[in-house]
Amino acid sequence: MSVLLVLLIVFGIGIVGFFIGRQRASARETGEVKVHSRAYYHGWWVFLVSVLPAVLFIVLWSAGSSIYLERSAQASLPAQTAESAVASRGLALSMVRGIATGLDRLDAQELQNLPQSYADLRSLLGSKGVALASEGQDYMVPIAERWHSQAATARTIGAGLAIALAVAGVIFGLSGIHPRARARNNVERIVLWGLLAASTIAILTTVGIIFSMLFQTINFFSVVSPWNFFFGTVWDPRFADAGSGGSQGQFGLIPLLAGTLYIAFVAMLFAVPVGLFAAIYMAEYATPKVRATVKPLLEILAGIPTIVYGFFALVTVGPFLRDLSAAISGGGGFIMAQSVLTAGLVMGIMLIPFVSSLSDDIITAVPRAMRDGSLGLGATRSETIKRVILPAALPGIVGALLLTASRAIGETMIVVLAAGVAARLTVNPFEAMTTITVKIVNQLTGDLEFNSPQTLVAFALGITLFFLTLAMNIFALYIVRKYREQYE
């Protein structure tokens, strides 16, 4: 019996339990005693008591049995010898596992007279659509066969136990039904635990990400000193030969950080005024009809994948700026096709909807009473916006801008295509610079071996970027929260 089927049966039992429980509970509502919980809470309680333990059991049982089966199969593998056709024990084990799962496809008849040589079995399974590696050995067949039959037994036992558990749960749940039973509180508590588990997963993932980067970063810093990384002004890992002792690559963060911040700055320079003015227009001037069309349209911009912005920068904006500068100077263009300006401009376009949408929400959150108060004194609309609404919304807007800036700093695809790869320190926005994200992509593409500083540096860069944006987000949230308190 497959796990899916067992799950379905368990759920079926739970649902039946739900209906019986609900029906029983409502039958008990005679009116003599004041009932504690509504009937459907009793139903839910029966459902949860029968399904949750059974599902938990299924999970544990299948994990436990597969670990056990793998252990015993591993034990029965012959000792690895130099002449073995298979490179390692691990590989042999995974081949056995492959055969064992393949055997699922065969019917009882075929299993009865299973071919004992690997080659025959391989062609048999091949005819069923299961592809096996060619270098398998005959000794694997009996082991796989035993694995397969034991797994089937384990599954059957597990299924029986799970179903029994579900039925027992229903009986237990039903036996607890009486008018004063606190089914509602029990159900609420389980719901609470469920919600808690969901949010814990999100947090644990973040922690997991940090740790996975942290260990690699520590490895990296055991080769390159943090001082050289954080304060080095030269980025030149390519030609370094890590193994040859004396000459190490140079992993200076400064040029990348400068490029990141510079491009983000140019992007914000472009996105902030446009986005803010768009937000003011939408919040204060646009009629509801216009607003209802313009706002979603702007938000479509936010839905365009950034790689598409990257194309746009690479094939349209970059060449356009280059040709434009050539036309202006009359000779060679002073703007390179890949430049800080190109990347910043396109990234700015990408950021407009973020700025405008967030600011729009913040501006409309300024109470109407503020507007009326100002208009009632004979202020014009623009005076009202300038002197009352924007100052009141300012902390929120600053928070929104910080959130946007942290997006700009973490943005990858646009800069990969539009900013260039040259790690240079320059103040000329018409030249190419590169960013932290671009270098992470560079260091991690191609043939990889996760023990040279050339690749490990990507993790150090990643964690730097992570903390940079984390700090900005926390600061932004702090400001936004403070702003909320103002009206409460």
């Binding site: 208009l375 004979g378 202020a379 103002q486």
Partner: protein, 273 residues
């Protein structure tokens, strides 16, 4: 029906003398207001006498605020709101396209039901209007306007040491007086007040009422209120609205002692609302 104290009765008698001599500052002629397709006011004819307090009373939703807002065109800020009929200020039609709304609102100021100081300092709150309209030529003059406005709103003594603290940090009653000071600071001719005391405690209410009585010397005041006592205490003329219609209008004293309409009497005595 003995809603009026002796004192206010005396006052009302005195006011009656003034009322005869007074001219009308604003005139409403067949004013109808629509919110989209829904009509909220039906052909209201109501005159606002100069340098007097006119009270608008009536059950909730009867259109008092709507009428008040049409007097300084604050209805313009509401989407889909339309006003027909004629409203004049000193004989000038305020809905005439040639009229500058901004200028109109400077002449007809407004105080709202909920105190709504700007999130700025007390000083900046009061200085806001004069700054916008360029009423002060120097910093010194601005200081004077702020001080005299606060004084007239009888708030100055309480806040003189913290003029540069946030206006939102004041108590509800102080905030409302701050809003009145803010309205006075632009030297309006008419002040509209929409339930200015509904968020205030009795003591703060008494202060604001006292203030309204003083302001009457210089300003024309229209006040919306749900308190019959308040209407009786502060106003000289009362208009009773019901379901978007003007039911009855007359001198406050008359309205509260011998109302002509049954509906007015029922409302004043609290038999419906």
């Amino acid at each position: 029906m003995n809603l009026m104290t002796e004192r206010s009765l005396e006052k009302a008698v005195g006011d009656k003398m003034n009322a005869v001599a007074s001219t009308n500052k604003m005139k409403g002629d067949k004013v109808s207001v629509f919110y989209g397709a829904k009509q909220a006011l039906f052909d209201v004819d109501l005159d606002i006498p100069e340098k007097m307090v006119t009270a608008l009373i009536g059950p909730s939703g009867c259109g008092k605020s709507t009428f008040l807002r049409s007097l300084n065109r604050m209805n313009d800020t509401i989407e889909g709101c339309r006003v027909t009929g004629q409203i004049t200020l000193d004989g000038e039609d305020i809905y005439d396209p040639k009229i500058d709304v901004v200028e109109l609102r400077a002449r007809v100021g407004m105080v709202f039901q909920k105190p709504n100081p700007f999130p700025k300092s007390i000083y900046e709150n009061v200085a806001y209007g004069p700054r916008i309209h360029g009423l002060a030529k120097s910093r010194h003059e601005l200081d004077e306007i702020v001080e005299s406005s606060l004084r007239r709103a009888s708030l100055f003594e309480e806040v003189k040491d913290r003029l540069h603290d946030a206006g939102t940090g004041l108590s509800g009653g102080q905030q409302q007086r701050l809003c009145i000071a803010r309205a006075i600071a632009v030297s309006p001719e008419v002040i509209l007040m929409d339930e200015p005391c509904s968020a205030l405690d009795p003591i703060a209410t008494a202060k604001v009422e006292e203030l309204i009585d003083e302001l009457r010397q210089n300003y024309t005041i229209v006040i919306v209120t749900h308190s019959m006592q308040q209407a009786a205490r502060v106003s000289q003329k009362t208009a009773m609205f019901h379901l978007g219609n003007l039911v009855e209008v007359g001198e406050t004293e008359m309205m509260f002692t011998t109302p002509k309409e049954k509906r007015t009497q029922d409302y004043i005595t609290g038999r419906f609302g």
